[in-house]
């Protein structure tokens, strides 16, 4: 076991709101961690702290041996950490292919041919090779999210962060995205996933975490957390989510 993300006593304030109240979490290499919790519990904020899209006020985060403390280090960490957003955030003014190769060329300095080859391979992997020349606005939500996953994977990241990747999708499109994520988990990708998809958590996650009020309330294997939690707060939350 080799820790790849080490979060130590992280605090975050939004004005007067104490959003993260001393969160500590270690993620091992190849581990899949699912974070659940009510809205406002700080789960997305914690995820966004890992690649420093959110600045934290106290504590320490080390990713792949690199502490998130200087602008240089933050960029170095971001190169190794892929992120998938609830609202996809594809670049709407360029084609799917260009969405996938832009950062490869600009950040990794790859040639167009190298980048395009990686891109085509990843589009095949997420199941939409025929959309290579489409624009994001011409795709369904599920297709956009799969392109977004491919775009993050194109940077060959060591860690993938998912911020409620299926929350903005129509129900019938959720499965196509979860299937891609499941395949990724089985390949051994280190993943931190904020999601309420219990099925995904049970099938893929090594650990499930319940956050509430800016702290980690309980962590266990998904089976135990979802069926036999030890904290009352977890039971309350699950009774509202599972129906």
């Amino acid at each position: 076991m080799e820790p790849i993300i080490e979060i130590t006593n992280v605090h975050k304030y939004f004005g007067n709101v104490h959003a993260l109240q001393g969160v500590s979490l270690t993620v091992q290499k190849g581990e899949v961690v699912v974070i659940v919790g009510p809205s406002g519990s700080g789960k997305s904020t914690l995820l966004r702290c890992i690649n420093r899209l959110e600045e934290y006020d106290e504590g320490k985060i080390v990713v792949d041996g690199i502490p998130l403390d200087s602008a240089q280090n933050i960029n170095a960490v971001r190169r190794e950490v892929g992120m998938v957003f609830q609202s996809f955030n594809l670049f709407p003014h360029i084609s799917v292919m260009n969405n996938l190769i832009l950062a490869q060329k600009v950040v990794r300095g790859k040639t167009h041919e190298e980048a395009a080859e990686t891109a085509r391979g990843l589009l095949k992997k997420v199941g939409i090779p025929e959309k290579v020349d489409a624009y994001p606005g011409q795709l369904s939500g599920g297709q956009q999210q799969r392109v977004a996953i491919a775009r993050a994977l194109a940077m060959n990241p060591k860690i993938m962060l998912f911020d409620e990747p299926t929350s903005a999708l129509d129900p019938e499109m959720i499965k196509e995205v979860l299937d891609v994520m499941l395949a990724l988990a089985h390949e051994g990708m280190t993943m931190v996933v904020v999601s309420h998809e219990m099925g995904f958590a049970r099938n893929a996650a090594n650990r499930a975490i319940l956050m509430d009020g800016g702290v980690i309330v309980e962590e266990a294997t998904p089976d135990i957390l979802f069926t036999n939690p030890s904290h009352q707060r977890t039971k309350d939350f699950l009774s509202k989510v599972l129906h």
Partner: protein
């Protein structure tokens, strides 16, 4: 930037073709007829009444060239000054932000004519004064070039307005775009260059086009500071021929041709760069 963009099918326009009178072709035509109408009127006046109109247009031709030069020359710098000012207004750095805000607020509060006069009449005196104080002969004998001073004046003024347009355009792009770009490891400036600005430029194209046309019209103010543009040449012609109706009607028509044509060009670029969100 063009590297990352390519042509694409135009589905909305295809749909519009189904509606009579709504197809893009006929929407363009209505405005092109206006441009054509003004041009025909000018040609008609020149051919049918060569005196004074042909003589007049011949006389002011060099003025038209100056007007176009000053306008286009200024505008290129305005686009750049606006970008710098706009990024400055958005900067988190307090010093940069304050400088940019001061620039915009101060310049917007001073009439353009006063600014142009200051650059032409006051600025050289300031330079000469500095030259005397530092004993640099080149500065003591400094003489302002009217066109250069006019362009500086216009760029300073319009750059302030353009800063606000850039700022609004950049702010109109959803925050997630910058986050996605940064999460892929791009620096702030790479994200701006490849992700934010290409989208923002499409948003701000209409107001930028308006600024160009406003600048073209406001360039007539430079006639006050010794630039022999269309307005000044028209006044010179009138002062020797005493025919204000003909001179100023023709000047108005010539400006109209330029502004209407510009509006068409802006409209064309706008349609070319549309994309679906």
């Amino acid at each position: 930037m063009a590297d990352y963009e390519s042509s694409r099918s135009d589905a909305p326009n295809d749909a519009l073709k189904q509606i009579p009178g709504a197809e893009p072709a006929s929407r363009i035509d209505a405005m092109w007829w206006l441009v054509l109408g003004v041009i025909v009127l000018v040609v008609f006046l020149i051919v049918v009444f060569p005196d004074p109109y042909f003589n007049l247009v011949k006389f002011v031709t060099d003025g038209i060239v100056i007007t176009v030069t000053v306008t286009v020359g200024s505008f290129i710098f305005v686009l750049f000054a606006g970008l710098v000012g706009g990024l400055g207004r958005l900067a988190k750095n307090k010093i940069i932000n304050t400088i940019a805000t001061l620039y915009v607020e101060l310049i917007r509060g001073i009439p353009l004519l006063v600014q142009l006069i200051w650059w032409y009449f006051a600025f050289p005196v300031v330079i000469q004064g500095i030259g005397r104080a530092l004993k640099i002969d080149a500065l003591v004998s400094y003489q302002a070039n009217p066109i250069a001073m006019a362009i500086i004046g216009l760029v300073f003024c319009y750059g302030a307005y353009m800063s606000e347009i850039y700022r609004a355009g950049i702010q109109s792009i959803p925050k997630g775009q910058m986050e996605a770009a940064r999460s892929l490891g791009m620096t702030y400036f790479q994200a701006m260059r490849y992700v934010i600005l290409p989208q923002a430029i499409r948003v701000i194209l209409p107001p930028v086009g308006n600024e160009f046309i406003a600048l073209l019209k406001d360039s007539s103010l430079v006639s006050v500071v010794a630039v022999t543009d269309l307005t000044r040449r028209s006044r010179e012609y009138m002062s020797t021929h005493f025919n204000p109706i003909e001179v100023w009607t023709m000047a108005a028509l010539l400006y109209l041709i330029m502004t209407l044509l510009s509006a068409r060009v802006v409209n064309h670029i706008e349609r070319k760069t549309k994309f679906e969100r």
